[in-house]
Symmetry: C2
Subunit: 411 residues, 2 copies
DNA sequence: GGCATAAGTTCAACGACAGAACAAATCAGT
DNA sequence: ACTGATTTGTTCTGTCGTTGAACTTATGCC
């Protein structure tokens, strides 16, 4: 009925290490710096015995995942506690984004800080996929070398790709914007000498952008005290196409194969304009970059042109944005009705256009989301910038470390 | 970043008990009766030591969750194995469905067999919610007495309700078809003497119908060998309104509060007919029972009238069904695009109409689901009948037992 | 009747957490 | 400055649960 895996004794330890690590990560990220938790505080928060926590923390300290910060602010009587926080000294992760025309790679340490980064503004993708992937591997290799020179141990890498990515098999099944189909990305990358021995993963760029949003340090006391634990939202990423990433209960929603979140091809109006996918009235045909610019009379322009046109209150631009916002609202209402997420977040090229997109979007959500009369659906603007997908790719690997730290402790 | 709970040693045992139980359930349900697994087989399948499995099985045997079946078919040399299967002798669960006009209660034993059932064809819901709920509690009390007279230990009960159910708080927040709002169902039921001491839960009827579908014994070698493990589908339940339940990776998708799956209010055409919810062009305005009958020229009739009209090829009925099927397809395409489920299942009053609904539905899915060109989206007809929601309600409790059997073993 | 084979049981060992006793480091008050 | 209260962190013993191997049991085959 349900996939219940057996557990061995070492899984216990693994899980409790992860619980300690998650709690430290949450506390350090949630409030300001000074709130580094102590062993005793962790024991109280988790319910574990103080001795057990001490043992777990020691293992994480020698493994270089945690570090002690001398004395946190003195409070009352009693022996002062040693503060604990994630250590950015050892563990790091590689993220690579391969977009329609650009490529970026970065290495983030366990605290999430970017320690190395390089962008290639315009990647030559006239060659076959293998060649383009090799170019991205070269880029990754340079960033890796930079990080390793800083003493970082890069434990894995993830590639953010546009299109339907089969996360299990590690293949890119369909990428209209790249013109690729059935490319075995993981195998091709694994053969590249610059990435030798590095565990790799691939995922959809929108799903990873959503993960980046979840990892973003911002929003201090924005929500419930638990900060980003249990956050749930749909992040819309409008680049060439429109995608979305769903986070439910603080975890990315993957779907059966990793093909979830295809918001761009949700139908807004079945009798609407033709879409590149073959159907009609898809969201992309209203709010996709190309369609949006064409409707604003700016065909061939860029997102910046549209923003400037809207700023000087150009009527065609305002009308196009209003229509696009309404279309986004209709599609996102479907997503909220189906998924019951807390909020909608505008990311990618939608973020700078939010002042014009959000009002009609919000209006449609209020009308079309059944639960809106009980609980409003807030529309937020993404806190992450243009690098969301790369940041998320690295975060994917880091999340893996936080979830299963044990393998890093024995070595 | 993520809700990682600490684990104690007893959780290890709990989980391994659940693993054994799930494997037995899966084997007994998946193939025919004769494939009852042995202790040794379970050890091999789980990877646990034979001694450990023996200990776990013994605990489940004395707890009455498993039973031995004398000798499974002889195979080769060696000591013959004792077959194991779920026992229907002790543990059972209560399910109650409270629909717009009817109520049903049943008790299922751990094997899923219905051991007691009673339906009230027409419930008087002119009174306040507390009174209607009390009537359902009386109904439940009679079924409970029947089950207890058979020696069953009913370990919990679940109520299937139409509308937005807050599963965490145990309240029905909004039920247009009942005319209820913010009813604290769990508290009201808990006060009723007939249910004294019984742990109760509430959930949305469509979500529970999907669970029933997942639990349904049918489909022998329909899919992958793992039978229903990891199944993923959207089940459409068309009764008065249209709802849906989502199963992803063999588990129901709940959403943040339990309000997921509101397919009925996904927009099919923003310029479409007005819906009772206040918006326009919702799926319910096309394929809801009332709208469907009205379009077929059968206003005031029932689902059977429509089926008969379709059978005699009444043009208005056929046209209405074709439109409804296409609308269902548009809305379900959004669901598949967003969730990446394997299949679509027609249930409730859609099931008998499937011969007419499925073709246009399938057509729209093929057009509008982005992944359809890679992997088709099969449309199936639900194997469960009109009792899907009650069956699912009981299954919810039983699933809880399978997931956490330990509490039943000490007593 | 004896041997091979596989299932099930028993038992010592090990890994991990729990709880209590203990040592360490600070503050408050005299 | 000294003493006691207080809280943190460590150490140690006990318990729980799994592991792996040795052992017993039951059957088929020769």
């Amino acid at each position: 009925m349900a996939p219940v895996e057996r557990a061995r004794q070492s899984d216990l330890r693994e899980r409790n290490l992860a619980a300690v690590l998650a709690l430290v990560a949450d506390r350090t990220a949630g409030a300001g710096a000074a709130s580094a938790p102590s062993r005793a505080g962790l024991a109280a928060a988790t319910g574990m015995a103080r001795g057990t926590v001490s043992a777990l923390v020691d293992a994480l300290l020698v493994g270089g995942l945690l570090e002690e910060v001398p004395p946190p602010p003195r409070t009352g009587a009693g022996r002062p506690a040693h503060g604990l926080r994630l250590s950015g000294r050892r563990v790091a992760a590689l993220g690579v984004e391969l977009g329609a025309s650009h490529a970026v790679a970065c290495v983030r340490d366990l605290t999430g800080a970017v320690r190395a980064r390089e962008a290639v503004p315009s990647i030559d993708r006239t060659g076959p996929p293998a060649q383009v992937l090799a170019a991205s591997a070269e880029l990754a290799g340079r960033v890796l070398a930079d990080a390793r020179a800083q003493g970082l141990d890069v434990v894995g890498g993830a590639w953010a790709l546009p299109g339907l990515v089969d996360t299990g098999a590690g293949t890119l099944r369909l990428a209209p914007n790249l013109g690729w189909r059935d490319v075995d990305v993981l195998t091709l990358l694994g053969e590249h000498p610059a990435l030798h021995g590095l565990p790799l993963a691939v995922d959809n760029e929108a799903a990873l952008a959503a993960l980046a949003e979840l990892w973003h340090p911002g929003e201090p006391a924005d929500e419930a005290p638990g900060s980003r634990r249990g956050a749930s939202f749909v992040l819309v990423t409008g680049e060439v196409g429109i995608g979305s990433g769903v986070v439910l209960g603080g975890r990315p929603l993957r779907g059966e194969r990793g093909w979830s979140g295809e918001l761009g091809h949700v139908t807004v109006d079945p009798a609407g304009p033709r879409c590149g996918c073959g159907a009609s009235g898809c969201l992309e045909a209203y709010a996709g970059q190309e369609a949006l610019l064409a409707r604003a009379g700016l065909a061939g322009g860029g997102a910046d042109d549209l923003r400037r046109a809207a700023e000087r209150e150009d009527p065609a631009a305002l009308a196009a944005l209003d229509d696009a916002g309404a279309a986004l609202g209709t599609a996102l209402a479907a997503a909220v009705n189906l998924l019951d997420v807390d909020a909608v977040v505008l990311g990618g090229s939608c973020a700078p256009l939010a002042p014009w997109l959000a009002p009609p979007l919000q209006r449609e959500l209020e009308r079309r989301v059944l639960r809106a009369r009980l609980l409003e659906v807030p529309v937020r603007v993404s806190a992450t910038g243009a690098d969301a997908a790369v940041m998320g790719a690295a975060a994917l690997v880091l999340q893996g470390v936080l979830d299963a730290p044990a393998p890093l402790l024995s070595a």
